[in-house]
Amino acid sequence: MSKELIKGNEAIIKGALLAGAKCYFGYPITPASEIAHAAAFYFPAIGRTFLQAESEIAAIQMCYGAAGTGVRCLTASSGPGISLKQEGISYSAGSELPIVIADIMRGGPGLGNIAPEQSDYNQVVKGGGHGNYKCLVLAPNCGQEMCDLTILAFDLADKYRTPVYILTDGFIGQMMESVEFPQPLKIDQSHKAEWAIMGNKETKHNLINSIYLEAEELEEHNIKLQRKYAEMEKNEVRFQTYKTEDAEIIVSGYGIVSRVLKSAVDVLRKQGIKAGLMRPITLFPFPKNEYAKFAAKVDNIFVCELSNGQMVDDVRLAVGKAKAKIHFYGRMGGVVPTVAELVEKITEIVKG
């Protein structure tokens, strides 16, 4: 049996290797460093490449190069490091390179602290760097998903030729849970010869590029990218609901918050309040329709984040003028709300 008690951060690396990742380029930062530690340990052990880059900027650019040759590769960091990587992520989106990037969020702004926050939502989900692009964003909330969604991230990155994020908080990264690992996957990457530069005759006419001098040409490229994002919105929305069928209030959050909210739902139900949990798994594409459906059914939607309220903007956009009122409760600086605290906040809303 390949069940293991393992830190979320480490599960990302085992998942990546089982998904056929050939290279890891990274730079250490708390609370994401265990990802680099595990990569440094396991990648060379099975003949793959681990390299500690001179900077976050270089790490993502090394991925740009490796992805350009058609191999699966990844990097990982946390808030301040992700800010630095934005240059390379914009270029990767522009050049349509499949790269997996894990962001294990910590407190900000600036140096902030190393405790869990969810304040990178805007810089990750909204595009972060310059230009008209978005990245696909997956938000695991347990050890098993740290593995499973990493594997999925590689598939989606290849499918759409786009950078894909694993976005979670330091809590999920640092937590150990039992994870069941799959068999090593057989990945056929030969189709990448159509665009990758593999240093051979077959691919020498390929060009990886994000520069389009003519305005019309660049617009056309941008339109193509937008079509791709629309395609993702059509096909890749993922979410999980818990006891929402008869819910009179919907509570929502991602990462560690979704776990606390789930427990809060159980407590609330014991107290006679029919609460249900809506947890987005993809943050882009955002499950807009699902929120809209809930907003038409219930009077109140309660959103909790470890931030000043970033995802809640997407909920508001999704809901539009529907009848539900959107309530936000956020903790910052690394404070994770307790179940009792959320139960109290939600009860206040329901009791009016």
Binding site: L5, L17, I46, A58, L207
Partner: protein
């Protein structure tokens, strides 16, 4: 014969298909610019060395941003200054390719200074052609790190001054202080003799990579009549009279001959070995158990373990979680991490549950392990009514105050000391907790120990510690 000589080198594309506009036969460079000459030398070398098909050209930002218009190789266009990092990714992921980074002075020496320094210092087996024309060309004639003292540019309109901008940067000399680079030379394009030397250097640098000798870089002094506001003829004179005296030509480092070529081994590992290396094939003792077999008050425990850093608090929690998992239950373990850890106290929170675990945060434990007094003082109040506190009487001189909880005081540290080290206190606790709660079978926890204790020579003594703890209850 003459036809042959005048033909475009085979390293170039026949028609420059990526180049916009009508003219697909000529480069975009200004009259008198050095880039075209260097491009030609590289294109010829790639053919003569037989590596055109294997080559990947990295196009930078600057005038040579359009390197990809011309070379009949794999092409990748990259961010300003990042070419050495991208080249590293290309080469590491595909060591059979020949990776050439072509960069200007703003790109390489200013914004990408960190990247070139580290690629060189790692000894990346790539080749860099560094065009030094002492100015930003494409961006419109601004000052570069290599701009000469007194030289007027758009951003040094009164001339470069030592007091404001410092001295022009001598890149090859700088890199030559590093141990890793194999070959570093500065050449010039100002006359036919120097062009011939550049031709030789270009070939040597590429050959260096082909032979696996490591990092090679050729700095090429090159004309920029457009931004220097000179004629092509004057610009060659300017190199000779102004640049070469400050940037002396010649080989700055060459250890090619004394170095053995290195080619990273190709390792193909089968699935079973991958699983083995990832630790997914370990023999572990699993035995499903119903939570109903556990005395009711100890079922689905939410556990908090607290003590001084160094008392093995985190490992204690991991052992319980690992063992709980072996009974088929859901488990979670979270450390207190960050500043809290460094303050001398540590705690971790463990859930063991038959059903899915919602919040893994244990604010109100059903089992509290307090290994020192501050931990008991801090967490006693949070224990759920009916919960149980295990406290370390070796270090705590009071009993818990509450009467709605079960309190079990044992001299965990003293027992551990008898076993030879205070470090075993955590496993004495494990024995006591499991004996009292009957939560996990002893054979399971002992097998779990093998997984959580990395230094195998301590496993046996830890097993003894568990037994002693169990007996002490």
């Amino acid at each position: 014969m003459a036809k042959d000589i005048l033909r475009k080198p085979g390293g170039f594309m026949d028609t420059f298909v990526y180049k916009p506009g009508q003219d697909k036969g000529n480069t975009h460079y200004c009259p008198g610019c050095g880039h075209g000459i260097l491009h030609k030398l590289i294109a010829e070398a790639l053919v003569d060395l037989g590596v055109v098909d294997r080559t990947i050209m990295v196009s930078p930002v600057g005038c040579s941003v359009f390197v990809y218009y011309y070379f009949a190789t794999g092409n990748i266009q990259v961010a300003h200054g990042r070419a050495p990092a991208v080249a590293t990714g290309l080469k590491r992921s595909n060591p059979d390719s020949i990776v050439i980074s072509y960069q200007g002075d703003g790109d390489l020496a200013a914004i990408g200074g960190n990247n070139i320094l580290h690629a060189a210092n790692r000894g990346e087996n790539i080749t860099v052609f560094f065009v030094n024309n002492a100015i930003y060309g494409m961006t419109g004639g601004q000052m570069a790190p290599t701009t000469l003292l007194g030289q007027k540019t758009m951003t040094s309109p009164y001339g470069r001054k030592i007091e404001n901008e410092g001295y022009p940067m001598k890149v090859v000399e700088l890199l030559s202080t590093l141990s890793a680079p194999a070959y570093l030379e500065r050449t010039s394009l100002d006359d036919s003799k120097n062009i011939a030397k550049t031709r030789k250097a270009v070939r040597k640098a590429i050959q260096c990579q082909i032979d696996g000798k490591g990092f090679s870089l050729v700095e090429v002094l090159s004309m920029c009549p457009s931004q220097w506001k000179t004629t092509p003829v004057e610009s060659k004179k300017w190199i000779k009279e102004r640049m070469i005296p400050y940037y002396p030509l010649g080989v700055k480092k060459d250890v090619i001959e004394e170095r053995a070529g290195y080619f990273p081994p190709k390792i193909d590992i089968d699935d079973e070995s991958i699983k083995e290396m990832l630790g997914l094939k370990k023999e572990k003792l699993f035995r499903d158990r119903a939570m109903s077999d556990v005395p009711e008050k100890y079922r689905n425990p939410q556990i908090k373990i607290a003590g001084f850093g160094g008392q093995g608090v985190l490992l204690l929690g991991q052992t319980l979680a690992e063992a709980g998992m072996r009974h088929g239950w859901n488990v979670s373990w979270i450390p207190s991490y960050g500043p809290e850890m460094r303050g001398g106290t540590a705690n971790c929170q463990v859930n063991i549950s038959e059903g899915p675990i919602g919040s893994p945060v244990v604010d109100f434990p059903t089992i509290l392990v307090a290994l020192n007094k501050p931990s008991l003082d801090k967490f006693e109040e949070t224990v759920q009514p009916g919960g149980v506190v295990f406290y370390n009487t070796s270090m705590i001189d009071r009993k818990p105050k509450r009467n709605d909880i079960e309190a079990i005081g044992l001299p965990f540290s003293d027992i551990a000391d008898e076993l030879g080290s205070l470090k075993f206190a955590n496993m004495v606790v494990v024995g006591a907790v499991l004996e009292k709660t009957k939560l996990i079978d002893m054979d399971i926890v002992k097998d779990a120990l093998k997984e959580v204790i990395h230094n195998k020579k301590f496993v046996e003594t830890n097993i003894v510690a568990i037994d002693r703890g169990a007996k002490a209850v």
